[in-house]
Amino acid sequence: MKIRTVIAGNVALFLLATMSLPAADQLATFSARSGGKMRIEGTANIIHPTWQIESPTIGGMIQVGPGFPTEPGQTVPLGKVEAKGDVFIPVRSLKSVEEDGKHYSDRMDEVTYEHLKEPLFKKIFYHLTELTLKEAPKSKDAPYVFDAKGDLAICGVTNHTTMVVNILPLADKKLEITGKTAVKMTDYQVKPVDINLVLGHITTGDEVKLIFKWVVGPARVATTESK
């Protein structure tokens, strides 16, 4: 292959890629900051009617277009906003907790990792594909309410999900993104837990609630796409 052909091909690919992306210089990039929390709640048998696991670590980034509310009190029209993002949670950062947040059991943690096939799938991923503002805040301290569409990948199985997320621009240019959704673990080929612990036998239900608070701030380092 001639060098000129290779260069021409690469230029064409670059142009094609650029055309398919939103204008990079119009996107504001926010990356994860500490202070977030992922909580997964489930049901179980009578001895332990509920269980919960938590992670203080939610990583990733979100890129938003000009119409996205990044300041408190900003007026933004309802409807679809330009946004895309990738979020992840390291599986081993998930810890079983009591209802009051105290650590529950090492064994329960290990069972969680085993069921989520942790050595093989180290992270839970979420890819945001579409964000629609459906409710403007009623006060300056209230969040913007969005419908979020995206893909959730657990244990290597990806499913499309839709959920309501609340986005609250904070005074320090950070965004607090909260929300919750319910998923069936069997949809991700995760078997319900069936285990004997010292305090009794635990069998978990299929449906779990994912409750999250994700804090992002202006990206400290430019991403590859926005360079």
């Binding site: 942790e118 285990i195 009794g200």
Partner: protein, 467 residues
């Protein structure tokens, strides 16, 4: 403590009594019972491979080799931690060879700095003579290694403070003082029992360590003889009260949830009249708040009744001792003490004029079983206090490393303050930390001072604070 008073861990007597009643009911139903968690995995589960941690052992005397032997048992069964002994270190060639034989495949070096330079080694266990701990511990923390430092941490309060402050500053690392009783499953099982006031009003504590041994190692030349027998020289050793007693005294304070306020001691060389200047027999009385005293004695000249620790309360006394490496405990109840219920089913052992009710983990019933009715077997080799302590150390180290890696991958490497904050919130497995290690040295140093001076020493609360 009255029924409704809670300690810092949230234990109170009423809750414990309620727990006892529930346990009795559940026992009758074939369900819950009071025994410490085992590492046995439920049958039929697929397990993730253990996390392998490269660790080095520095100091290969008898205790250092015991540490190697214990580490080689990890992973045990389905435990998620595997100790990979990557290097062993001792300046004495004979010890280095023996330690190396116990850890096949481990690099052997007389210079601990080569271990600290090895980036693959994440954790070190320091089992050198006490007076050498400070230099190695500080260098290891500076090199970013997780550190398990044998107790006593140091031979002086100043050295112990330096170590503790360095450990306090290195929150991203696991630092553990070798007070292994604080990680022992049996003791952790008993702690809420005692703290809940189950023994009644605290009256007295007592502990002893009796062994017929000269504490002396033979050596080929005078220089080596002096180096090997550092414990017999008061310039380099805190003697029996420091090298042995610090574990038992710390345990009493841990259960009583208090630090001693004064110590009166005495000691003498009664039997081994060689060139040593460290007493072969010591006694000390530690005063705790509320009029509770701990009586301690240790001797190298008589082995009767070996070693154990006692706690006495108005309702019951508790004996804790290690038998064949395994922790055991018995309760001796007063006739007018309240009935828990579960003790009806517990193993009982005759002790001269008394009957001891077994409180040993897994022995509250004649044969503990899992939910399917299968007998649960406890493995004595992996139930020793040392195994529990080293396991918790490596587990904490792995947890911190994983959390730091996750944090950096999520939030970048620049947010050091956020990382430290998050690592500070990591739930650590029970273990003696830098402060407890430091406080044990304060007590041991002052007790040794009392013993050598045949006197009483007030223990000022501010001495126990790290500044």
């Amino acid at each position: 403590m009255n029924e409704n008073e809670s300690d810092a861990l949230g234990h109170n007597r009423r809750d414990f009594l309620k727990g006892g009643s529930a346990a009795t009911l559940m026992t009758m139903l074939g369900g819950v019972e009071l025994f410490a968690q085992t590492n046995a995995a439920p049958a039929g589960e697929t397990k993730a491979p253990a996390v392998k941690i490269k660790v080095a052992v520095i100091g290969l005397g008898a205790w250092g080799r015991e540490i190697i032997n214990t580490l080689t048992r990890m992973p045990h069964a389905d435990d998620p931690i595997e100790a990979d002994i990557a290097a062993v270190c001792d300046t004495y060639p004979a010890f280095l060879k023996r330690g190396g034989n116990a850890a096949p495949g481990a690099a052997q070096t007389p210079d601990y700095k080569t271990i600290l330079d090895n980036k693959d080694i994440k954790a070190v266990v320091i089992a050198t003579p006490t007076f050498q701990h400070k230099e190695i511990a500080l260098a290891a923390l500076k090199a970013g290694k997780h550190v398990y430092c044998e107790a006593p941490l140091a031979g002086s309060i100043e050295d112990a403070r330096d170590i503790a402050l360095a450990a306090k500053a290195a929150r991203h690392l696991a630092f553990q003082a070798g007070l292994q009783m604080r990680s022992d499953k049996e003791r952790l099982f008993l702690l809420p029992f005692v703290r809940s006031g189950a023994l009644g009003t605290s009256l007295l504590a007592r502990a002893q360590w009796h062994k017929k041994t000269n504490w002396r190692s033979t050596s080929p030349n005078p220089e080596r003889e002096k180096a090997l027998n550092w414990r017999l020289n008061k310039e380099t050793s805190l003697g029996l009260i420091g090298e042995i007693g610090s574990h038992q005294i710390d345990q009493a304070g841990w259960f009583l949830k208090a630090l001693p306020t004064a110590v009166t001691g005495s000691g003498s060389i009664n039997f081994w009249k060689d060139d040593r200047d460290v007493p072969d027999t010591v006694q000390a009385v530690f005063e705790f708040p509320g009029g509770v005293r701990m009586i301690y004695d240790a001797t190298l000249a008589d082995s009767f009744d070996s070693d154990y620790e006692m706690l006495y309360g108005g309702d019951a006394a508790l004996m804790m001792r290690v038998v064949m490496g395994e922790s055991k405990a018995w309760m001796f109840k007063e006739v007018d003490s309240p009935l828990f219920g579960w003790e009806v089913y517990a193993d009982k052992v005759p002790f001269y004029k008394d009957t001891g009710i077994a409180l040993v983990a897994g022995k509250s019933k004649p044969q503990p079983v899992d939910a399917q009715g299968h007998p649960i077997q406890l493995d004595p080799l992996t139930s020793t206090p040392l195994f529990c302590a080293l396991y918790n150390f490596l587990r904490n180290a792995a947890e911190l490393d994983a959390a730091a890696e996750d944090y950096r991958s999520s939030y970048g490497a620049d947010d050091v303050a956020g990382l430290m904050d998050q690592l500070g919130k990591i739930v650590r497995r029970p273990a003696a930390d830098y402060l407890e290690g430091y406080q044990a040295v304060v007590t041991a140093v002052k007790a040794n001072e009392a013993i050598l001076g045949n006197k009483r020493v007030d223990l000022k609360p501010e001495w126990y604070e790290l500044s």
